[in-house]
């Protein structure tokens, strides 16, 4: 069995040698380059666009403005260049097209746009009187008012978090090529099948006329799930000009047209008995919406699913601002989760109950909102495994009680939780006449290890070595499969890959036992053992290699299978140590332990990497990460990786990842659940809770920058 083993990434070599070809690496004969001109006001109208100087640049083929841009609509997004209205700073106001990227960029810098600007509203504080409740954003379970009345202790606190941007290391890129009314797009996409649908719909052509490829992705974090308007515009330009067209976004452009995590404010009220039992949980939140969309992406699911509480009220309010539309960003539930997990810590001090114990006392096997039993849940094991590994029992509960030189030392913890998607998926497995195996499915590897895990699944199902299996992903020519978002890839697609591989195994075994030329001839098929590339008799006295069976057969054996899976909920517990130097207000995270219930762990290395990545991101989220908007202009002030700070290696301690590793019995993905988004959700609260334990100071507004702790 290779499933569960820490198998090295099968695509690692291709990535480090440059063999892996990303969307921006595609260069086609006769290709043109598109470059975006971004608006500089957040609200108002374009009054004129002067393109004369841009058109005079050598190599420039066309300059598109709202006056001459291809007419497009999108059922998902506001489509720029269709009129004069400006809805956010950094909106696309023109596109230059030239024979080299340098010419296109130079021309873009020469486009002169004049505006009739209006005063924008940039942050929630600018529009507090305009907060409202969109449809279907309120859930009430039981009687929260009565629950609060029955409480012996209550905590009510406000928390906030700033906007964030996805910042995958690979910028968004799109290359479009038309052949008649057939379109091929190399797209930085977390979902080629969804992208295929979007392109087909935008250009009113059959879905089968569109091929989308995304074999490799340099991260996405949700920002590459939709097809954004710039990709549709680039494809429209390619069609209009009759040549392939490439567009690669700059880092700065990614701060206005490919979404973000919304600014978020929340108030959490907890009611509890003296023994810690929750009697009521009221979670009111307000998140930024845009002028063109009231979709919400930061949900209070943790408050509705995580703890035993008979009376729950979640109310997700919004406020429209003159900023781009937000969208899912890695672990969208983490924004509200931060409030819940911090409030629980505050409650623990008020009650004098250990924070782990408080959570244990509110553990539930049942979804408190729906009453349904979780298919499997080992969260209590996570608390125990994590606490033991961390040494939590040695913690002195009194804040400010541990000092080391100038630094105060604190320990904090939080539950981690995120639900995951499961979408119907299909996969093909083919064993060639030479015994090698190919698996194809139109899901993606967004950097998480999908290629590796599917290679393991196929190898195990067939009983062949890993190096006999090749997996291909990210192409709509393959059997349709899930979007790689919502932690859903492994949960959605593994079952189909496994089923197809098992079907091939069955067929090959049948070829052997039914053929007099095989040493296995006449044995019952169900008794054949497959391992190491061989088929064995039950007593292993006789064997024949897959290669030999296939050579005799002389033709490939192939199967395509489909599978559905249930959505799931992966939980865990994270423990951190911080050191706070009050002279500088500086917080260092010096230890981290996470213990998780993710169902079966398919690969301890790639799953562990999700923990390291999530924890690292959580440190950044807690201590430094924020998109800064100039309140006067609603323009991003820090649209680059020099000033949009993420944790660097020196900020990150050794991180220990522990897995309960018990298969979820209802999961068709060999017992695995989706997991990627769980480890990060609790980290900001755990760090804030540790800061409180270190110093006695409670910081409720992210990020916990040094000025807040001086």
């Amino acid at each position: 069995m290779t499933v569960g083993q820490p198998v090295e990434r099968v695509d690692g070599r291709a990535k480090v040698t440059g063999d892996a070809r990303y969307a921006a690496d595609r260069t086609l004969p006769g290709m043109l380059y598109s470059y975006l001109v971004m608006g500089t006001i957040a609200r108002g109208r374009v009054t004129s666009v002067d393109t004369a100087a841009a058109r005079a640049v050598p190599g420039v083929v066309e300059v598109f403005t709202h006056e001459n841009a291809p007419r497009l609509t999108s059922d998902q997004h506001f489509m720029p260049l269709q009129g004069t209205q400006i809805h956010y700073n950094g909106q696309i106001v023109a596109i230059t097209v030239a024979t080299t990227p340098e010419q296109a960029q130079e021309a873009a810098e020469l486009v002169r746009v004049t505006y009739a600007p209006e005063t924008p509203k940039a942050v929630i504080a600018d529009a507090l009187t305009e907060v409202y409740l969109p449809a279907n954003q309120e859930v009430i379970v039981g009687d929260p008012t009565a629950g609060l009345a029955a409480a012996e202790v209550t905590v009510t606190q406000n928390y906030s978090s700033p906007p964030h941007h996805h910042n995958p290391i690979e910028p968004h890129a799109t290359v479009a090529q038309w052949d008649g009314d057939h379109l091929t797009v190399h797209e930085t996409s977390q979902g080629v099948v969804n992208a295929q649908r979007t392109f087909a719909s935008a250009f009113a052509i059959p879905q089968t006329n569109v091929r989308v490829l995304a074999p490799y992705l340099g991260g996405g974090f949700g920002g590459k799930s939709p097809v954004w308007p710039h990709s549709l515009l680039n494809a429209a330009i390619a069609r209009q000009l009759g040549r392939p067209a490439k567009m690669v976004l700059t880092r700065a452009q990614m701060y206005s047209i490919v979404s973000h995590r919304a600014e978020f404010r929340q108030q959490v009220t907890l009611g509890a008995k003296r023994d810690g039992t929750l009697t009521a949980l009221v979670h009111l939140s307000t998140q930024q919406l845009s002028r063109t969309s009231e979709n919400m992406y930061s949900h209070s699911i943790s408050s509705r699913m995580l703890y035993a509480c008979p009376n729950i009220h979640t109310r997700q309010q919004g406020v429209r601002l003159d900023v781009p539309t937000s969208r899912f960003m890695r672990s969208p539930q983490m924004a509200s989760h931060f409030g819940l997990e911090t409030a629980l810590d505050e409650l623990s001090y008020q009650l004098g109950i250990d924070p782990v114990e408080l959570r244990r006392r509110n553990y539930t096997d049942v979804n408190p909102t729906t009453g349904e039993r979780f298919s499997s849940r080992f969260l209590l094991d996570c608390y125990k495994l994590g606490a033991d590994a961390f040494g939590w029992s040695r913690r002195n509960p009194k804040p400010g009680s541990t000092r080391d030189g100038h630094e105060f030392v604190g320990w904090g913890m939080a539950t981690e939780a995120h639900d995951h998607n499961a979408n119907p998926s299909s996969a093909m497995v083919r064993m060639a006449a030479d015994g090698t195996v190919l698996s194809q499915t139109a899901t993606q590897d967004i950097g998480t290890g999908t290629y590796t895990v599917f290679t393991q699944v196929v190898a195990d199902a067939l009983g062949v070595p890993l190096n006999q299996v090749k997996v291909e992903l990210g192409d709509t020519n393959f059997p349709p499969a899930a979007l790689s978002a919502g932690s859903g890839t492994i949960a959605s697609v593994t079952g189909a890959v496994n089923a197809a591989a098992l079907a091939v195994r069955t067929a090959v075994v049948q070829l052997a036992v039914s053929n007099p030329a095989s040493p296995l001839h006449g044995l019952p098929a169900e008794q054949i053992i497959t391992q190491h590339g061989y088929l064995f008799s039950p007593d292993r006295s006789r064997r024949e290699s897959y290669r030999a069976v296939m050579a005799r057969h002389g033709a490939p054996v192939q199967n395509t299978s489909s599978m559905t899976n249930a959505r799931g909920y992966s939980t865990g517990a994270v423990f951190v140590e911080v050191r706070v130097d009050p002279r500088y207000g500086r917080v260092r995270v010096t230890r981290g332990v996470g213990a998780y219930d993710a169902g079966r762990v398919m690969n301890h290395k790639t799953a562990g990497s999700q923990v390291i990545g999530g924890f690292t991101w959580g440190i950044g989220n807690a201590l430094m990460e924020h998109t800064v908007l100039d309140r006067r202009t609603a323009r991003v002030v820090n649209p680059n990786l020099s000033t949009y700070l993420l944790a660097v290696n020196a900020d990150v301690p050794d991180i220990q990842a522990i897995f309960v590793n018990k298969p979820d019995p209802v999961s068709t993905a060999l017992g695995a659940r989706g997991f990627g988004e769980t480890p990060i959700t609790g980290v900001p609260a755990a760090i804030g809770n540790a800061i409180f334990h270190a110093t006695g100071r409670r910081i409720r507004d992210l990020p916990f920058t040094q000025d807040k702790l001086l």
Binding site: G585, L623, V637, Q706
Partner: protein, 334 residues
């Protein structure tokens, strides 16, 4: 991308000659800041004079115990130089606290001194900026000012100088050798950079064809200690919120020599003369009681601070960092 001319400087004199007579000229060495600015459109020189191959890449130990650092010595090489590590730990620490390993491998001594502010509004062509386009106004005032100045700013500009190396050199009384069209001259490093006043577009006293050829460090007397302390928003690869370069010599329990420079607080490396005046001659015994005089010194310097809406925290942060830096130097054990 705007087209520009490129000249490879044949020798030091030729570099100055090649840079003379243009409307917009820039010397290209490591390019770690200039090339970024050309991509952003912040800088659009007509001509680049490439000085990266000039023989200015040596570090020489001088007979008097000082050090001469060529203008194109790379930051990495300077930080690793045995004489720097031995005699000027404040400089080695400052260099290593700046940028990233990759950037330090390219960035040069002269270029580091002449790097420009990282003010976000300076880098964003869509926003007015007196430094980028004189007379258009300052967008930082009233905007995002977390990284901005608390000392010596003006109504026209509140930008900070981003260098760590220059802060250490300011505390070391470094002398900058400059070759211009009228010959060679020496400028004290603390006078190289300007305060913004009403001409914030002028970062330094140099003219465009002036070429920095070397920086000289005078020797430090026996018994002098020095260190660099930098406070920033993450543990590496971030500009200073506040930094302190401190040089201290205590003899017989009395401060004989002290030099303090602050980074991240002003348009130039800020030499803290007022704090030095308070400290010079003060008794110091390495005990926690020293903190009182260190605090008084820091507060004397920061009495003139004029923080902006978004950076008031820098005043106590600078005070605490000065105190902790001096404590670090005065204690018997390090």
């Amino acid at each position: 991308m705007i087209p520009f001319d490129y000249r490879l400087a044949p020798d030091v004199d030729g570099a100055v000659a090649a840079a003379t007579g243009w409307g917009g000229v820039a010397f290209l060495a490591g390019g770690t800041n200039l090339v970024d600015h050309m991509k952003l459109g912040v800088a659009a020189p007509e001509v680049l004079v490439d000085i990266s191959r000039l023989p200015l890449d040596a570090v020489e130990e001088l007979p008097d115990g000082g050090l001469r650092i060529g203008a194109t010595v790379r930051n990495s090489d300077l930080a690793a130089h045995p004489a720097v590590r031995r005699d000027y730990p404040v400089l080695a620490r400052a260099l290593l606290s700046g940028a990233s390993g990759q950037v330090r491998n390219l960035a040069t001594t002269g270029g580091n001194l002449l790097q420009r502010t990282r003010c976000a509004y300076f880098q964003d062509l869509s926003t007015p900026c007196n430094k980028r386009e004189p007379g258009t106004g300052c967008s930082a005032i009233g905007g995002y000012t977390r990284q901005h100045a608390i000392l010596g700013a003006s109504a026209h500009c509140v930008a900070t100088h981003p260098s760590d190396m220059a802060v250490a050199m300011a505390a070391l009384d470094a002398q900058v050798t400059v070759l211009g069209t009228s010959g060679r001259r020496v400028i004290p490093l603390v006078e190289l950079h300007r305060l913004p006043g009403d001409e914030p577009h002028r970062d330094t006293v140099l003219s465009p064809s002036d070429l920095i050829t070397a920086v000289e460090l005078p020797p430090l007397p026996e018994g002098t200690r020095s260190l660099y302390r930098k406070v920033r928003d993450r543990a590496s690869y971030a500009f200073a919120l506040v930094s302190v370069a401190a040089v201290l010599r205590v003899e017989d329990g009395v401060v004989r020599d002290v030099r303090i420079a602050l980074g991240g607080v002003a348009h130039k490396p800020w030499r803290a003369r007022r704090a030095e005046d308070v400290l010079r001659g003060s008794p110091v015994d390495g005990s926690p009681a020293d903190e009182e005089v260190f605090r008084r010194a820091a507060e004397a310097e920061l009495a003139g601070a004029a923080p902006l809406a978004g950076n008031g925290f820098k005043v106590p942060l600078a005070r605490n960092t000065v105190v902790s830096a001096l404590r670090g130097l005065s204690r018997e054990e390090r």
